[in-house]
């Protein structure tokens, strides 16, 4: 029988790599020319992006009539996609801020990458409300600036809160990401072979000198930012849920929406991060930094948040019955058995049933199975937003105005384009910046910290 020494913390980086090896390994993708696989991948995502650009261009020229949006379903794919992509972003901040506050060391290997995914997901998401307005060249009117109409925005509208929440989220994530990159850029600066590279890295590392007098403030700043980013990430999807919950539409007007949306966002975000990391660790040989243990931990969080989401679905039904409001009761029965029952049951089977398989350690640690489950979770979470948005709107209080919503080929083109944009940015990221935080990983390697034996 093997004994485990519980007095020793298990190492998060396997195999005691030397610090120099870590540098070289993490900066290898930046120093080598992109290979054939990279070009195949980026031409594929580029093609998806091009599909989206074509669909968007057509929408700009011929108008939003190309979309399936109708009356009463004024919020079709654009809003579904917006909520989906903002949700994807949440995993990054959760990993970099909340897990940091909880001192979860296993986050160090995946934090940088997840933060990058946050930024790209928010960029992708931000596109949708703008095109959904139908006049995407007038977004400035959302900002409270002194204008020639001498009017101000409506501060009691959740849509305006959304503007503030998403833009704050983007800026804070970007700052968080960038200050995390500064020491790594300084490493690259000192390693750089060519003059052009060195100049670029010098500019962006701002002259970082690895001084402990700097590290001291740097760590404090990181703690403060993590402290601010934690309530921020919770607030963002809360406010996104207000877009629904503050209206009086049956199926939307519920107090459970904020926590339910946040759990769902973390759920889908972790599934996406897990999916992408499976490829990254394989392709770049990071298996000892992004260990199987890390993936297992992520699957545990997927299981937890998936169960929360399942609980929320059940509670929505309960409250609809318990409230005694006829319109609410009708909406939920209509969701499960109405014209959109197919979407509802896709959502239930992907979001509620599939993550429950993660109770088994064998499944939690099997890479092919967890990949498939991660994909299913994201399919399910996309359908969740579809179900919430479309079923409520298509059958509201007034039966005479009910209508079935059918997305068009343009809608699908834009959806594919959003995936193309996200993955293209991600691919460019892997070749231009270190996808693992060099300084943070070095600090958690065995033997990297002083033993303080003489104390």
């Amino acid at each position: 029988m093997s004994t485990v020494d519980y007095s020793q913390e298990l190492s998060v980086v396997e195999g005691r790599p030397s610090l120099r090896e870590l540098d070289d390994l993490i900066s290898k993708p930046l120093e080598s020319k992109p290979d054939k696989k990279f070009f195949i991948a980026i031409s594929f995502t580029g093609l998806m992006l091009l599909t989206g650009i074509t669909a968007l261009g057509a929408s700009f020229i011929y108008g939003t009539g190309l979309w399936g949006n109708n009356n009463p379903v004024g919020w079709g794919f654009p809003i579904v996609n917006f909520v989906f992509w903002v949700g994807i972003g949440h995993a990054g901040t959760l990993i970099s801020a909340i897990l940091f506050l909880f001192r979860q060391k296993w986050r160090t290997g995946i934090a940088r990458f997840a933060e990058g995914m946050t930024i790209f997901a928010v960029i992708t998401a931000a596109m949708f409300p703008l095109i959904h307005t139908g006049r995407p060249w007038l977004p400035l009117y959302l900002a409270p600036y002194p204008n020639q109409h001498s009017i101000w925005p409506n501060f009691i509208s959740p849509l305006l809160w959304d503007v503030f929440a998403v833009s704050t989220y983007f800026i804070v994530s970007l700052i968080f990401w960038y200050v995390g990159l500064i020491p790594d850029l300084a490493v690259l600066r000192d390693k750089a072979g060519t003059k052009v590279k060195k100049t670029i890295y010098s500019i962006f590392s701002l002259g970082w000198r690895f001084s402990n007098r700097h590290w001291q403030h740097y760590e404090m700043m990181y703690l403060i930012l993590a402290g601010f980013a934690t309530p921020l990430v919770l607030s963002v999807h809360t406010i996104v849920s207000y877009d629904f919950a503050v209206s009086i539409m049956p199926g939307w007007h519920a107090t459970i929406f904020p926590p339910y949306f946040v759990a769902g966002a973390v759920f889908s975000g972790f599934a996406m991060v897990q999916n992408v990391l499976i490829f990254i660790r394989k392709i770049f040989n990071y298996e000892h930094i992004i260990t199987l243990k890390v993936l297992e931990n992520m699957n545990k969080i997927i299981l937890l948040t998936g169960s929360l989401v399942g609980y929320a679905y059940a509670m929505e039904f309960f409250i609809a019955w318990y409230s005694g409001v006829q319109a609410e009761q009708f909406t939920f029965i209509n969701r499960a058995f109405g014209p959109y029952a197919w979407a509802y049951w896709i959502m239930i089977s992907c979001n509620v049933i599939s993550p429950q398989l993660f109770w088994f350690k064998k499944i939690r640690t099997s890479i092919p199975i967890m990949f498939v489950l991660g994909v299913l979770v994201n399919v399910g979470m996309w359908f969740e937003r579809f179900v919430i948005t479309v079923t409520s709107l298509s059958r509201d209080y007034l039966p005479s105005s009910w209508a079935y919503y059918t997305p068009t080929i343009t809608d699908f083109g834009i959806l594919i384009g959003s995936f193309g944009l996200f993955f293209t940015l991600l691919l460019i990221f892997t070749k231009t910046l270190p996808v693992i935080s060099i300084a943070e990983v070095k600090a958690v390697v065995d033997g990297a910290q002083p033993t303080h034996k003489d104390h």
Partner: protein
Amino acid sequence: MSEKVLYALTGLFETPDQIIDAAEKTSDGGYKKYDVNTPYPLHGMNQAMKLPPSKLGYAALVFGLSGTVSALALMYWMAVIDYAHVIGGKPYFPLPAFVPVMFEVTVLSAAIATVFTMLFVVFKFPNNSHPLHDTGYMKSVSRDKYGICILAEDEKFDENGTLKFLEELGATNITHQYFTEDSYATWWSVLDKKFAGILAVTAIATSLVVYIGLNKVLYMQPFSWMMEQEKLNPQKGSVLFADGFSMRNPVQGTIARGDLPYEYAVDPEGASKLVNPLPITEANLQLGKVKYDIYCSPCHGFLGEGDSRLRGQFPNPPSLHSEKVRDWTDGRIYHVIAMGQNVMPSYSSQLSRNEKWATILYVRALQRSLNAKESDLQ
């Protein structure tokens, strides 16, 4: 090339335990101006160097709270004072609805302020002309070595003593780091050709992008700003009507409401016969005053004396108190307003019939104020 000046002595260590030990001994040894360079933050180093706790939290607190307060103040001013509108039956000042924006602005300002304070105030970044940059020392500590750096400007520093001190600590690769006076950036480095060139190119590129963006791209399809519409505009051709015009004549024998043609256009004396249809009431005089102040006072002055700011410029605006104008009938004045006179244009498009007559009532009142009739004394 100016003279080399000793900046510091640097030494390298292999393990974290060694550097912690070295840092403790250095600070115990009375050195103040020294630094430790490590590839990542080491636990316990701040205590070893006896550094006071970072005060960045205060920046976060101050800027975060000012973000909260300014967001609230801004929303209060906009939604309650400057543009008060009842929306959805809610009060002008619904505090709970202001909370989300207050929260976001708090986080935003605190996060930006903390990072900017750290980078630009505490670290004085960007600074790429530090003596340690590009040295072998920096290249080692950025990767896997732990370095200590004792500055020459420290009071206890003396070249041989400190060298010996570092040797005793067990440092390897002890190096003298020099800098030249001219390696420090000075204000005239902004005149550097390369820098000024990049600045000029950036300025021109930015201006071009902004100019083309705002003046050309925004007027292309699809950014047509609702200017391109299918409706018919005056002067625009139309295939709908036989004569090819989009403008239509009124139906034969009809006139638009309130649009009675002025029949004395070429007959000023004939217009004298017109009688003011409006009774002298306070409302009419008030209307006349409003219209007079808007349309007449820019030239004739608020009191009708021709005392506007145009006085002294050619031609002087005439006074309305002259004998000539006082003796004119209301109809004759009406003619001047309707048709204009000399450089005065017609005001028909600005003033309706009733407004013209009301203005005349007010002009009469102004005239009486300077040249009262005997009967006014009673």
